[in-house]
């Protein structure tokens, strides 16, 4: 229809449901992302909101499983009457909530979950993801490993026994074998999520002596691995790749061994492009308020909230300043480009999925910081670590020539 027919009166506020883990083991991601949302929304509101409309966040806990999240999503939409939902760290929750978003016709922005299944297996009208999926981490890791250790012969994986761990390892292994076909896999270990104690796994890896060890561990598990592995020489024996390692550096502090490959699940890290004004503002503001540097889930949340703002503003512009309808907002969201820390452009492609560059680096201690920072950092442009639009991840890796 004609744009004026759809133009709506400006609402008093834009109510956003924000869902992340506030209890259980994934709070290490959930709370830093909630913090980022809080900080950014306050900043936006100070600056006049979105086209004059203030944002009001409604926070919800992601704990409780997929079924609980479906119920919570409905409550947020039907009871809290939120205008849109930003959320979900767990892939299962993303997969469960997406169809409900379609059923309820509610704009939903997935901010952190990594599964590539979501947009590769289905098409959604109302669902977006403002970040790249997990293939990025594994592909960047493989490329980085080959650049710092080109003569790698043997690799091993230690990954949590669930979808994230499985998918991460599968992509990494595939990419390694494609890039260096003579590489041998000498161990694939699958401790269960939250096992915490890895003595036997570490022994196995010490016995197998692989050149490279890949791990997509996160939360307490990754800390446990570092704590138990470092004194036993695991990190000096092999080149260890921790694809989600960035988030725990501040926790582990000076105990972090040097020379470990760390991924940041994107190109966001507080010292990368640290002088970009947008980035600096975020890092300083976040640190002042929460006493820590933002970690990757904080950046992911930033990308989501900023994405919503960008999409609404783009839609308003297209509608000549009028408040956009939902369809207009969605239309604006597709293919949008906007600025995010660390001072680069975020692109949401036509498949509703974002793509990002990736950084990898080696840990190194610097007297200026009480924890390890990244050395020999490499930035992989988005096109190198994300499959082209419409190509499935595994097909993409398989299609590499080498």
């Amino acid at each position: 229809g004609p744009p004026w027919a759809e133009a709506q009166a400006k609402p008093a506020e834009l109510k956003i449901g924000i869902v992340s883990f506030l209890s259980g083991p994934a709070t290490v991601f959930g709370v830093p992302s909630k913090n980022a949302a809080e900080w950014l929304i306050e900043k936006y509101n100070r600056e006049g909101g979105i086209g004059g409309v203030k944002i009001r966040p409604v926070y919800a806990d992601e704990a409780g499983g997929a079924e609980k999240q479906v119920a919570e999503f409905r409550r947020l939409v039907l009871d809290e009457k939120v205008d849109l939902v930003i959320g979900y760290i767990s892939s299962a929750d993303c997969l469960a909530v997406a169809p409900v978003a379609e059923e309820l016709r509610k704009l939903t922005v997935l901010f952190d979950c990594g599964t590539n299944r979501i947009f590769e297996d289905s098409k959604y009208k109302y669902v977006f993801r403002t970040k790249a999926h997990q293939v990025l981490d594994s592909v960047a890791a493989a490329k980085y490993v080959l650049s710092v250790k080109p003569n790698v012969k043997t690799i091993a994986g230690i990954n949590q026994d669930y979808a994230w761990g499985r998918d991460s390892w599968e992509s990494f292994r595939r990419a390694m074998l494609k890039l260096k076909p003579d590489v041998q896999v000498v161990a694939e270990l699958w401790p269960k999520l939250l096992a915490g104690e890895y003595s036997a796994e570490i022994s196995r890896l010490l016995v197998a002596k692989p050149d490279v060890i890949h791990s997509s561990f996160w939360n307490g598990d990754i800390i446990g691995l570092v704590k138990q592995g470092a004194p036993r020489g695991l990190f000096s024996q092999s080149l260890v790749v921790l694809t989600a390692g960035e988030h725990m550096l501040q926790d582990v502090g000076k105990d972090m061994p040097e020379g470990v490959v760390i991924g940041a699940r994107g190109d966001h890290w507080f010292l990368h492009n640290a002088n970009d004004p947008l980035h600096k503002e975020f890092v300083d503001g976040y640190r002042a308020r929460y006493g820590r540097y933002p970690i990757y889930p904080s950046y992911h949340m930033y990308q989501a909230v900023a994405g919503v703002k960008a999409a609404y503003e783009k839609a308003m512009k297209a509608a000549g300043g009028a408040w956009p309808s939902l369809d207009q907002a969605i239309k604006a969201f597709e293919g949008i480009e906007y600025r995010v820390p660390p001072g680069r452009t975020m692109t949401i492609r036509g498949d509703h999925n974002g793509i990002e560059p990736a950084i990898m680096g080696l840990t190194k201690h610097d007297p200026k910081y009480p924890f390890a920072i990244l050395d020999r950092m490499m930035v992989f442009p988005a096109a190198e670590v994300n499959p082209p639009l419409g190509v499935k991840s595994n097909d993409w890796i398989d299609s590499w020539k080498k």
Partner: protein, 298 residues
Amino acid sequence: MTVAVVILLDGVLYAAVLFLVAAGLTLVYGVMRILNIAHGSLYALGAYAGTSLVLVYLKTGGPAPLMYLALLAGAVVAGAIAGPLVERLLLRPIYGREEVVQLLVTYSLFLILEDVMKLLWGVDPYYVAKPYAFLGTVTIAGVRYAWYQLLLIAVALATGVLVSLAIRGTRLGRMIVAVTADREISATLGINVGRVYTLAFTAGAILAGLGGALVAPLISVAPGISVEAIVLAFAVVVIGGLGSLEGAALGALIVGITRAAAVQLFPEIELATVYLIMVAVLLFRPRGLFGEWETRRI
């Protein structure tokens, strides 16, 4: 050969950790017939308290070896505070009610403690690695181990011996048995039923806390560690035969060694090892390894 030695050693190491977590649970069940779901929370509480105290202590710059004392003290204090509180306020009103009700109460307690710990310690992981790394390492069968791990074996052994002596040999132990079997009659014999229970539960809570504190230097102390601890402890205790300390020790060994073997030989099944062992053991010994059948006098 190396692999066999490594499996055995890793198995025993893991068993020590498991046993430390499970001992308090089996003690409380053995004497009070209460299956304490909040046991994992008490374990977490010990881990938090111990870690915090070590962190505080390390800041003072005192001699490093004393940090182990700080670690233990934190756990003991946590257990000694939480134990009596929980027993008096929550368990006392429900003695004599069905087992499921007791489960329900301890489950509620678990939920409450989860958030209490979150409020007290926040969500960022508590991290202290020094007690683990401080003692240095030793190379066995070509694999490097931390002395702290070996120390845990000794501590687990000592704990086992002490606790079993306490239950078996002492008058208090027998009185606890009596109170559990028949509260009313025990009271008419002059036993201060309430005090005996408070003591027994507090002992269990302190053991749980010690388990947490001793494991804390290996792991990341963060929300969610309670749940893992409790399932493993349950499994170990059930495999061994509820209430039996020897059983818990043997159960821990079996689980530990099987898991170590699985990691070395069939990593794919690691996820289910504990449960597979439990099914297998219960198939052949329906009351666990050390569980006894009691023919009731009729």
